[in-house]
């Protein structure tokens, strides 16, 4: 380690933002390595500034380090300059806390937030000197695991992972660590641990399942290849979310990271039921924290970090049952101490503006709304229950309250979309820009159009992405008409969205293309300056894979999907039924406000069905 440190100190002055690789932040947990039996690395396959903004990582870091028999240390993907230095100096990727090479840990866990980070996973394993494929790892090697939203279809990474954790990690990780500790104490064989961990509910060991394919390339079946392994692996959820461990002393980065503030998690899940939204399906059901719990946590978080901002971080924070009281209490308590309260994005209703006004006392920066589609017809298809009237009235109220810049998020290429829907985006944006609020003015309307990516475990998993050239045409359709002095258009490149679709719906065979692309030099693909579509195309060609088979094809309703053996609790029947309703433009109400929509998650996970505000 002394040698590693010495080389590191030589390297760091030459790289951009060396603090990314140095650790030592406030609240970092640095344990006595020798005194703790189980060592786990938490790897975030993107750079420090992105990884340090991830709430799930903060939670797991706290959960593991709260145990006396385990430690968890952080590792982030190096930026290109640092990767070059590491490779030139033959220095292995190491943890921030004790500068221990990754290969020295018992467990190396990745969180999968975004498909475009997959090459970073391979790159980090390679930089660590850990054999890429699970089958190549030997007795001395760490176990490589993964969790997070993308773990609900981990098949493109299956050959590289020893096991996968489905759902919320707080409790299941504890069970995994117990097993690892006992297994290590009795000096068990690698295979024994995998057998043991496969029996933990929520744990999926890809090697214990065989995939059979049909001649047409579709999946015939995914079946366990040994006894004692479940046919389907069901996700884990925390039942009593109000009482679950929460990090009261999160690490405070020195660098200015993406979300550099206290994050207060009000609830898990979202019951709005947008049909394109994977988070809305896989994080069900909604479970809220008591307001008293939240206020106590807010106080500790602010006191222990010194942050001057607190953000209400949940999928749709304004849906919290006691949101008005909560915001009032936070603003009254901390506003005078120079602490700001912030909301990530807003619903298009007057209540949202009222809440936004409370939290943005001084500066009226821009407000963000996500109508997602340009016409009411298409908004009904995706079950986004916002009307044009709602949006216009809300923007007007907000402009009168002092805001003058607005951001509107849309998706292009949604199922059933026509040019009329696309042009509806332009019309809606113009209507917003042309509002004449009394006593206020609208100076800028920024329209952001991303490309729809069909996601596993959603009603749109049977959809194909619109072809790249067509997506580009629709982007241009918006772009050319959205010229005007108060209008601005930002869009996403179809190539990146295309790859996201390939790996979102990919099966195990796509792993070969992924590995090839990485060997050709692809990494940091989420960063447009490093994205090399030509290399990706070469990788698909060389591995004989047709990426459009995954991205653009519509699977048949009866087809076995590559992720069907992974169970988020929401039933396939519900997803199919929602798809039917989508295509006929029928809306499904929020199950926490109106009637239960029978998605199946509450009975499947044995969680009592609750209405809004019922925490007990």
């Amino acid at each position: 380690m002394a040698q590693l440190l010495k080389t590191l100190e030589e390297i760091l002055p030459r790289v951009e933002k060396p603090a990314r690789y140095w650790g030592g932040e406030w609240n970092q947990v640095k344990k006595d390595w020798q005194a703790v039996p189980i060592h786990m690395a938490l790897c975030f396959p993107d750079i420090y500034e992105v990884g340090m903004s991830h709430l799930g990582s903060k939670i797991l870091y706290h959960v593991v380090n709260a145990r006396s028999d385990a430690l968890m240390e952080r590792v982030y993907a190096p930026w290109v300059d640092m990767e070059k230095e590491l490779r030139a100096a033959d220095l292995p990727l190491f943890s921030l806390e004790t500068k221990t090479p990754l290969a020295g840990f018992d467990l190396v866990g990745f969180t999968l937030q975004y498909e475009m980070t997959y090459t970073n996973v391979l790159n980090m394993l390679d930089l660590a000197g850990i054999p890429l494929r699970a089958a190549e790892r030997g007795e001395g090697d760490p176990f490589v695991l993964a969790g997070g939203p993308c773990a609900f279809n981990p098949e493109p990474l299956a050959p590289f992972l020893d096991f996968v954790v489905l759902g919320e990690g707080e409790e299941v990780l504890g069970e995994i660590l117990d097993l690892a500790r006992d297994w290590k104490a009795r000096r068990g064989a690698r295979a024994d641990f995998l057998t043991a961990v496969a029996a933990v509910p929520g744990v999926y060991v890809p090697a214990f399942y065989d995939v059979a394919y049909r001649l047409d390339g579709t999946v015939a079946a995914v079946r366990p290849n040994r006894p004692g392994v479940p046919e389907r692996v069901r996700k884990r959820v925390v039942r009593d979310f109000d009482k679950v461990t929460f990090p009261e002393r999160p690490v405070v980065p020195f660098l200015d990271v993406v979300h550099d503030r206290v994050m207060l998690e009000l609830f898990r899940g979202c019951a709005r039921g947008c049909r394109f939204c994977q988070a809305g399906m896989i994080y069900r059901p909604v479970r809220e924290k008591d307001m008293a719990t939240l206020l106590a946590q807010a106080e500790k978080l602010l006191k222990n970090t010194g942050y001057g901002e607190i953000s209400l971080a949940s999928l749709s924070s304004l849906d919290y049952s006691h949101i008005a009281e909560l915001i009032d209490a936070l603003v009254n308590q901390y506003g005078t101490e120079g602490v700001r309260v912030s909301l990530p994005s807003l619903r298009a209703d007057s209540f949202a503006v009222e809440q936004a006004r409370k939290v943005h006392e001084v500066r009226r920066s821009s407000l963000t709304f996500a109508p997602e589609a340009g016409s009411q017809r298409l908004r009904n298809v995706i079950n986004k229950n916002v009307t044009e009237g709602d949006l216009l009235a809300t923007v007007e109220t907000a402009a009168e309250a002092g805001w003058n810049a607005f951001k509107l998020y849309f998706m292009l290429g949604l199922p059933t979309e026509t040019d009329d829907d696309v042009l509806g985006i332009v019309e809606l944006a113009r209507k917003v820009a042309n509002l004449k609020p009394q006593g206020g003015r609208i100076t800028r309307v920024t329209v952001s159009t991303s490309n729809f990516v069909p996601k596993p475990h959603t009603p749109f998993q049977w959809e194909g992405q619109v072809e790249r050239e067509e997506l580009r045409r629709r982007q241009l359709l918006v772009h050319e008409r959205l010229k005007g002095k108060r209008l601005e258009h930002r869009w996403h490149e179809p190539e990146q969205s295309f790859l996201e679709a390939v790996f979102s719906k990919g099966d195990r065979r796509t792993a070969a293309a992924l590995e090839r692309a990485w060997r050709l030099g692809c990494r940091l693909d989420g960063w447009s300056e490093h994205f090399r579509f030509d290399l990706w195309q070469q990788a698909f060609q060389e591995t004989g894979l047709d990426p459009t088979f995954y991205a653009n094809r519509k699977p048949a309703a009866g087809e076995t999907l590559p992720w069907d053996h992974l169970d988020p609790g929401v039933s396939k029947e519900f997803l199919l039924q929602e798809r039917e309703r989508a295509l006929s433009g029928e809306r499904t109400p929020d199950c926490s406000r109106e009637r239960c929509s029978a998605c199946g998650v509450c009975p499947a996970l044995d969680i009592p069905i609750r209405r809004r505000g019922e925490t007990k």
């Binding site: 603090a19 030592g24 405070v252």
Partner: protein
């Protein structure tokens, strides 16, 4: 009240940039619950002013900052509470109250002390010492200063106030007192780079440590923690 503080930035904190250091100290102040004053405006910021930015990678035992408090607090209590909240690698060395109307710390600094270790592979101690003496004996030492818009040649000799070398085989340690701040600014790496070039050697700076910051008053250098006193009769003679 205004409290002036002297901090050390140790190895553990050497890769924190100046801007990030200010952020880290702000958070420490909030954790400590100190009654810091805030600026007016859209985004109120705590009134903490640092004397002089330190380059990334350097260590220091002479970082100074002024803290504006909105109510009086015994210095000892301020020190105790802030110390408990400073991250690894930041140490509070000393503090004292300064007059509320005193000029901004940053504008006051005239010189900085440095300790620089460098390697000169293949050179003997005597050789290094001789080359350094010759270098310093020059009447003028020009370096090329490049800014975004222009290049200009600058004679740095007058900016080197004091210099002492402890040579050894393969390098040495330099003790430098250099002009710093609005009255002229010279960075230690500029001196060493000019020296390597003059000797025609390949050198490598290994460590830069700031040992002091000084304010010049009546021809004397004093640290920002010493209250400047008007010398006897100085008022009349000048």
């Amino acid at each position: 009240m205004r409290i002036r503080v002297k901090l050390a930035k140790d190895e553990a904190a050497r890769f924190i940039s100046h801007l990030d250091l200010a952020g880290a100290v702000e958070k420490a102040v909030r954790r400590a619950g100190l009654p810091i004053a805030y600026s007016e405006g859209f985004t109120p910021r705590p009134k903490i002013a640092f004397a002089s930015a330190l380059a990334l990678g350097a260590t220091s035992t002479a970082e100074y900052a002024d803290f504006e408090l909105r109510e009086r607090l015994p210095i000892a209590e301020f020190v105790r509470r802030l110390r408990a909240q400073l991250p690894e690698g930041l140490r509070l060395l000393a503090a004292r109250e300064v007059a509320a109307g005193a000029p901004a710390l940053m504008a006051e600094i005239d010189a900085a002390g440095w300790e620089v270790a460098a390697r000169l592979p293949g050179r003997r101690a005597a050789e290094v010492a001789r080359a350094w003496e010759e270098f310093l004996a020059r009447e003028r030492i020009y370096i090329c200063k490049e800014t975004k818009h222009k290049r200009r040649d600058l004679d740095i000799r007058p900016l080197i106030l004091k210099a002492r070398l402890v040579p050894c085989d393969e390098g040495g340690t330099w003790d430098l007192l250099l002009r710093s701040g609005s009255s002229g600014n010279l960075r230690p790496e500029e001196v060493l780079t000019a020296f390597f070039a003059a000797a025609g050697w390949e050198g490598k700076i290994e460590r830069i440590h700031r040992t002091g910051l000084y304010i010049e008053r009546w021809g004397e250098l004093m640290t920002p923690l010493v209250e400047p006193r008007v010398p006897e009769e100085a008022g009349e003679s000048e």
